[in-house]
Point group: C2
């Protein structure tokens, strides 16, 4: 699984787990809803600052968020389209 | 300490620890030396992909690299110019 796709999957899961809409998350992060949508679909990759602001709103550390992305990538080895 | 500055400091430390020049690191990562230089000076922020490629060459996990950035930021609270 590509890095951006893995990040997008983790982001969508965590956002839903936090009961936040894309719009609410974007607002809390000071980002655009469209950007969140692009990230979740793996069509954009987050900058370092976005990683920090998003994880802060999701209530996890940036390193934990990245760790989840690493795990997601490993889990999907062999399933990459 | 700003996020980019903290990342730059950690990157420079880890690169020197690995006995790599900016040029050698850039080459290994498939990135430009100028980009590495800008990152180390906190003038650019890395993308998610750059975080993964740089940490791979430095022999640490991306989440560990981000954890070091978090620690660096906390350590410097109150010293932010």
């Amino acid at each position: 699984m590509r890095i951006e796709a893995a990040f997008g999957t983790v982001l969508a899961e965590k956002r839903k787990g936090a009961k936040l809409s894309q719009e609410a998350l974007a607002h809390e992060c000071g980002l655009d809803r469209t950007y969140i949508s692009l990230l979740e679909r793996g069509l954009r990759q987050p900058s370092l600052k976005s990683i920090f602001s998003i994880s802060s709103v999701l209530g996890i550390s940036p390193s934990k968020l990245i760790e989840l992305v690493e795990k997601r990538m490993t889990k999907n080895i062999g399933n990459d389209p």
